[in-house]
Assembly symmetry: C2
Homo-oligomer: 402 residues x 2
């Protein structure tokens, strides 16, 4: 419970063997269901005996149920199993924008209920109070057992500890958000960076599940989330994917981080609106997106230029990680095809063709729900132990060691 990270390095016991196999069976039913016990046994390599036993446990927990018989293939017709999508509900929070969003989500990533709370300029303790209120409101409407609470927020987050190390927009530093919410609710709580959450969401709920995935979020800020071998990668200091403040123009515009020419000053929504203002065009981001759709040449030029710059950054990431699926999300992705084309073009031009050839760059499908769903996805993983990495396409990690 509440244990971050399946400790791959600890001892192995019989209980862990069983837990592992139980997760394997649950994951198989989740991904391949409706499916019979015998088929689960074949795909997992376990014996039918063991699968039956494990499924009995899952059914006792209400996580799966029998949903009818399948067609016979020459023998007894199989009893089909599927995951009970609303056996548990999850609470997911998105504190990354000017409005806090919270939702109740089922095991399939469907949003059951959602609320928003404006935050305006409140920060520090006041912002915290809004979070508590939002959580309580969500919990009050819950109709199923709540598995826990997942929170995605901008900033540098120590996920295993559940501590917000630094969130400039909310003026939080070393806030033990996880513990605070856990105390009030007595539920498991997980906190994760919003870009990283989005990556998890796209990995779990956002289409074909690949082992490795790179998600680049471009809104007011720029951040990436990296899923490697089905696991969120946070780096040594939880800051993996924090590419927004890498310098791309040594003599460029001043950035809110205090330095000059960061990627953020070139590709973020603010950067685009700034450039448009310079060109005499004024309006909101939504206005700009409408204008682009209507063929405004000024907007098109600025947006394509920003897309190209982002393409260079994507090329670095593709070169470094050789990931075959890159998903772009965030408000700037709302510019759609012209912007996407620019990103793709420049990424292809700047990366080794051998690497970029097989790489798909696309816009995410989860839109505004990415963070909320990602926080939920983290929760599902940790609390249910569901790990579908193995069901994804082949892995290419090789163990290191002495």
């Amino acid at each position: 419970m509440s244990r971050i990270v399946a400790d791959r390095s600890g001892k192995a016991t019989h209980q862990e063997t069983r837990a592992h196999n139980e997760r394997l069976v649950l994951g198989t039913i989740y991904d391949r269901g409706p499916i019979s016990r015998a088929e689960v046994a074949r795909t997992t390599g376990l014996t039918r005996t063991t699968v039956s036993d494990l499924v009995a446990g899952l059914m006792r927990d209400g996580l799966t149920h029998e949903m009818g018989r399948g067609p016979s293939t020459g023998g007894k017709a199989p009893i089909l199993l599927e995951v009970t999508d609303d056996a548990r509900h999850l609470v997911g929070l998105d504190l990354g924008e000017k409005v806090f969003r919270g939702a109740i989500v089922d095991l399939r990533g469907e949003i059951v209920e959602a609320f928003s709370v404006p935050v305006e300029d409140r920060d520090g303790q006041e912002a915290l109070e809004r979070v508590f209120a939002l959580v309580e409101r969500l919990l009050a409407t819950a109709t199923r057992p709540i598995l826990g609470i997942g929170i995605g927020t901008a900033g540098l987050i120590d996920t295993p500890l559940g501590t917000v190390l630094e969130a400039v927009n909310l003026d939080w530093r070393d806030v033990p958000l996880g513990d605070l919410v856990r105390e009030r609710t007595s539920l498991p709580v997980y906190v994760v960076n919003d870009s990283q959450a989005t990556a998890l969401a796209e990995h779990v709920f956002g289409g074909p599940r690949t082992s490795n995935l790179l998600v680049v979020k471009v809104g007011q800020g720029v951040g990436a989330g990296i899923v490697i071998d089905g696991h969120l990668f946070q780096g040594d200091g939880f800051g993996a994917g924090e590419i927004g403040h890498t310098t791309v123009r040594p003599a460029g515009l001043a950035c809110r981080c205090g330095r000059r020419g960061c990627l953020e000053t070139v590709v973020s929504s603010r950067a685009i609106l700034g450039r448009l203002a310079e060109a005499g065009w004024h309006g909101s981001l939504a206005d700009a997106q409408r204008a682009l759709a209507e063929g405004d040449p000024t907007v098109a030029e600025v947006v394509v230029a920003a897309g190209r710059e982002l393409g260079v950054a994507v090329a670095w990431l593709i070169g470094a990680l050789n990931v075959h699926r890159v998903v772009l999300v965030g408000s700037v992705a709302g510019f759609g095809e012209p912007w996407l084309a620019a990103v793709r073009e420049e990424a292809t031009r700047s990366a080794l063709p051998l690497l970029s050839r097989d790489t798909v760059v696309e816009i995410g499908r989860l839109h505004d729900d990415g963070v909320v769903l990602g926080a939920s996805a983290l929760l599902m993983t940790q609390e249910l132990g569901l790990s579908l990495a193995g069901l994804a396409a082949g892995r290419h990690t090789v163990e290191a060691a002495p």
Copy 2:
């Protein structure tokens, strides 16, 4: 045997439980030895009973032995165990340079015997014959059971299959090198990219073992190797770390890859010598390194500029991965302190301070042996199942999944 990748996703059985614990015990003795059974039990969490049983097996295999008694802490003096460093020997090959190097290595990474074979301009089948000859010569001198053969070579390598997908310098395409050598020797064979091998070597033999490690190799080419959570990360297409052909100067010099302004055209040994030639300075890389040491200002200027450019690349990697240890290797690293300082300075300037602050950038200690040792390290992992990731500093990966 010869199975790449401990399949984290398959079913768990009692045998795997035992194998896992055996590796855990062996790894603990390897890292912490001399150590008593009781101490192993405490650090692993296994019972003394189980540890004794597993150690008995390891001793039967000759992998570990008792080496005396330790001081009593108030009770019976412990019997100390250590890994028998030469219980097995490994064959490591480096095909990345103009001279093929091969070595016999013990379990501690000590080179027992080494040979070199000039390759000159031979490529294709001829180069392959040289490899076979080198392997046979090494095997003929072996005095211990050989665990297998590890091969590091430039190019794009499908490590699980042991196939060289593309190695321009040797004119190999889709060469099943692993199978070819395996057929001739009946030994387990692993093939891996040379930069990736170097990363493994630095991870396993190159100093304090951290979970994540980034190794950047700068010689005639530029490549990186990425160790994540103790595992070599190869990406979806085995090309992770292939940063040498990311464009940094859209209108820059022509690269051997056919495009312009690749990182390689700016920071490689060839690039440095080219710039020096432009400045009227002629000589070999070794000459340049001597000249730098003697204070030649022309050389210093060019080298520092190249270092700065590499620093920008390192900044991207630090930003993307937030890895706390970056090791620089390859012939260009021979420029030493002035070059290193330039890389550090620019990396710090270009990366988010929050990320670069805790990052150590240093020059590798394994020098010319990196690839050979890395190939051996891969072999040890795969064949002995040694995985020391868990003994390294805390991990920050969080499981993903539905």
